[in-house]
């Protein structure tokens, strides 16, 4: 394995460069996936049948908390990658752990929100609007959940092996994934919640 020391560790081998490009293309596919979910949501957003409408169930407070948690986590993972470039293992691990805790917090609020909806009689089966809402939010939430597992696995490897071309590459790719989830959330916040509250 040839290591090119003029590049950051996550780009230092041929294999690593391929993986970063591959992951960007995967994110392209993810954009197509979420675009489809958004299209489905926009199509069905006003078709709530006998169920509640968006205005009746959305509440700003939990959503703002979720937004705050997730946006902050995107910032902290950026700091984590910066620490990795500087070779600061402890700082990197701390920032990654903060990121994951914030992610967990986001997930907790989202699950509480879902439970509230269901208690108000707004379930996935009630109307097409709610089916599409739960699917869009649920897909994003499932991505966050998977990210928590993945991030933990990477942290364990960094703890054991330190910064190697492999662990650096994995951490960097994970950060791309995490930022992407944040971008999707910004769209959800603006076009699902804010629009729904108007």
């Amino acid at each position: 394995m040839k290591i090119d020391h003029s590049l950051p560790l996550e780009y230092s081998t041929e294999e690593n460069r391929l993986k970063v490009l591959g992951f960007w293309i995967f994110l392209g596919a993810e954009i197509a996936l979420f675009s489809t979910l958004f299209a489905v949501y926009f199509t069905l957003a006003n078709r709530y049948g006998n169920g509640p409408s968006a205005k009746e169930i959305f509440e700003l407070k939990p959503v703002l908390i979720e937004t705050f948690l997730l946006l902050t986590s995107s910032f902290t993972i950026g700091l984590g990658i910066h620490a990795m470039r500087l070779g600061l293992k402890k700082a990197m691990m701390t920032f990654f752990m903060i990121t994951l805790v914030l992610g967990l917090g986001f997930l907790g609020v989202e699950i509480t929100e879902f439970v509230t909806y269901v208690h108000e009689g707004a379930t996935m089966q009630t109307s097409a609007f709610l089916s599409s809402l739960f699917t869009l939010l649920g897909t994003h939430g499932a991505h966050v959940t998977f990210g928590l597992l993945w991030g933990t696995a990477i942290l364990l490897q960094v703890r054991k092996h330190g910064f190697t071309p492999e662990t650096a590459n994995k951490s960097f790719i994970f950060s791309l994934y995490w930022h992407f989830l944040d971008v999707v959330w910004i769209f959800i916040f603006s076009f699902v919640y804010l629009k729904g509250l108007m």
Binding site: L21, I25, A29, A32, R47, Q125, A128
Partner: protein, 647 residues
């Protein structure tokens, strides 16, 4: 659930299939044990990450599925061969045309194309493997798991019966109460994930792993077509992923996406399906165009005419493919404006396609044409595909389409584009690249015989359907009365179908005959071809190229032969290779069972299978595997043996 609900009962043909499946599933392990081949199977095939072997497995599965889909086709043609025929009842006929469509498109055409990509692309760009060999194996096993899951549906639980398009509300639990459409959503989902991974893998491979000097505009045309195809895959397949997930939610969790009440919208399914479905058509046709470009240029002994316009046409087709989807349902209630827009975009596709047809014709002009079997298929493709294309433009005219929408005219049209387009191409590619993989050519006499039988029978089978469609016979009718007058033409079509079956049997016999008797090729370049894959030995050593070739022009191998300049210089260096892994295979099995349990809504076993899938992923992330190196001595030994200098 009782056993008679679990297994499909009451049909002698189904019982016969059950017996056949039981016999085969017993025969395989017994045979493997008797011939002591378990180790060989595991080490050389099930755990392989070698793109050539994965390609061979794709193609073998595709041939198997061609047989399955072909039997469906024969049953349909037999049922409609005469009026009021009682061979199949309506339900059984519905299931058969549904599985015929799904199997032929998703489990025959796609894997055949992807198999050829796997075999050829790394060789054609001078690479040692694809970018992510392990992911490639996962792609294959997910496709295979999906295909097997779909195929067991006809004995366990019942096949999907709402057409390969699975339109709602027909595919809803209300009108399609068996688990058939659960199989549809899950089997396609699993193999679709595999296809998406293939897409990513090949884009990175082609963008990043080309031989030094091979600029984008110096890539062989097949490589170009595959690059564009994979871009379409990456953007089209997520739409299918979503559509299938919503279908599963509607059918199994009671959501209201495509429901008839509570705000649901059945047309949403049709739109989502075709936003994926139309690009899908180009996913199977563009690589076919690439294959024809290679073959026509090789056997006309000329470089491809209009290289740049070929590339531009394909890019144009790939973009247009995403903006024509509504032409599949002009009659289903959108207004004049929408119909007009989609009419125009659809007809626009004829322009780049026409450019390509003329480029092939001009490549042939003044060429020293050699009529080999792959070339015969390519030459037959041009006129027959053009008939398919012209009838496509007829269908594209929205107002005229009201006359023949969903008639046999449409059926004839898409068979006229898909069979000469994709099926002839993959057969041609199969004949063309077969010696590269196995080291000997398929017999030309048998090849030409099966070609003529297939081409003639194809027209006998499908041309009558144009007339039947214009006479008003709708598709998917399981029977008709004698007074309609549809009988004679349907009978001719059925005779043609038998001819097609005979043609394919000759093809399979040809493989058997050639394995035993065909003379072995020692040159590595039996067709006197132009691209890099022919510059290495046949069969190809595991590392593909002992030295990485350097390229300075299109058709570099052709010029290196002509000018007698070597493609690669310097000494051998140790070659880094990925190690085999059983993980993709285990993942495939886990996906198969997860899918199977979900079909029957057995949640607990499904969750356990899902945890196994997560487990394989965790295993992968904690695994330390840096592959292995092939030493210089070993390369020298292999190369000498392949040159025949050492026994």
């Amino acid at each position: 659930m009782k056993w008679d609900e679990f297994f499909v009962t009451g049909e002698p043909m189904i019982y016969a299939s059950m017996v056949a499946i039981a016999v085969v599933s017993l025969a395989i392990p017994i045979g493997l044990t008797y011939f002591k081949k378990w180790g060989y199977l595991w080490n050389e095939w099930l755990t392989t990450v070698d793109h050539k072997r994965i390609g061979v497995m794709y193609i073998l599965s595709a041939l198997l599925m061609l047989f399955r889909g072909g039997v469906d086709a024969l049953l349909m043609r037999a049922q409609t061969a005469r009026p009021e025929n009682g061979l199949l009842d309506a339900q059984h006929y519905n299931e058969i045309f549904t599985t015929h469509g799904v199997v032929m498109i998703l489990f025959m055409a796609m894997p055949f194309v992807i198999g050829l990509m796997n075999v050829v692309i790394p060789l054609q760009i001078g690479a040692r493997d694809v970018a992510f060999p392990r992911l490639n194996a996962i792609s294959f096993w997910l496709f295979f798991a999906g295909a097997m899951l779909f195929n067991i549906s006809f004995v366990i639980g019942g096949s999907p019966d709402a057409g390969w398009t699975a339109y709602f509300p027909l595919a809803s639990p209300e009108f399609s109460p068996t688990v058939g459409n659960n199989y549809y959503s899950l089997a396609l989902q699993i193999s679709g994930i595999g296809t998406l991974m293939t897409g990513i893998n090949f884009i990175v491979t082609i963008l990043k792993m080309r031989a030094p000097g091979m600029k984008l505009m110096k890539m062989p045309m097949f490589t170009w077509s595959v690059l564009i195809t994979n871009v379409i895959i990456v953007f089209a397949f997520p739409v299918l992923t979503v559509a299938l997930a919503l279908m599963m939610f509607d059918r199994q969790f009671g959501t209201q996406f495509f429901a008839m009440q509570n705000g649901g919208m059945d047309m949403l399914w049709a739109n989502l399906f075709w936003i994926w479905g139309h690009p899908e058509v180009y996913i199977v046709i563009l690589p076919a165009f690439g294959i024809y470009s290679e073959i026509i240029s090789t056997f006309a002994r000329k470089n491809l005419y209009g290289y740049k316009s070929m590339v531009i046409s394909m890019v144009a087709i790939s973009m247009l493919s995403f903006v024509v989807w509504a032409h599949h349902f002009y009659t289903m209630g959108h207004g004049v404006m929408v119909n007009s827009v989609f009419s125009i975009t659809t007809m626009a596709i004829a322009v780049p396609t026409g450019v390509k047809i003329f480029n092939w014709l001009l490549t042939l002009r003044k060429g020293k044409i050699e009529f080999t079997t792959p070339m015969l298929y390519s030459l037959a493709f041009i006129p027959i595909f053009t008939i398919g294309g012209v009838t496509g433009v007829m269908l594209a005219m929205a107002s005229a389409d009201y006359q023949y929408h969903n008639t046999m005219f449409l059926v004839a049209h898409f068979h006229y584009v898909l069979i000469p387009g994709t099926v002839f191409a993959v057969i041609a590619g199969f004949y063309y690249w077969f010696p590269k993989v196995f080291g000997f050519r398929l017999n030309e006499r048998l090849g030409k015989l099966s070609f003529w039988v297939i081409v003639v029978s194809f027209n006998v089978t499908f041309f009558p359907l144009f007339i039947l469609g214009l006479n008003g016979m709708t598709r998917r009718m399981y029977t008709y009365s004698a007074s309609t007058g549809f009988g004679p033409l349907n009978l001719i079509s059925a005779i043609g179908a038998v001819g097609l079956a005979i043609g394919f049997i000759i093809l399979v016999y040809n493989i058997y005959w050639s394995v035993r008797y065909s003379p072995r090729d020692t040159t590595g370049d039996p067709w006197n071809a132009r691209t890099l894959e022919w510059s290495t030995h046949s069969p190809v050593p595991v590392y593909n190229f002992a030295k990485v070739p350097t390229v300075d022009s299109l058709d570099a191998f052709w010029f290196s032969k002509k000018n007698k300049t070597p493609l690669a210089e310097g000494a051998y260096e140790p070659i880094h290779m990925p190690s085999n892994s059983g993980m993709p295979f285990i993942m495939g099995i886990a996906f198969f069972f997860a899918g199977f349990f979900l079909v029957f809504s057995w949640w607990l076993p499904a969750i356990i299978a899902g945890l196994v899938i997560l487990g394989t992923m965790a295993f992968r992330t904690f695994e330390r595997d840096h592959g292995y190196h092939i030493s210089v001595e070993e390369i020298e030994r292999t190369e000498e043996a392949l040159r025949g200098e050492r026994k």
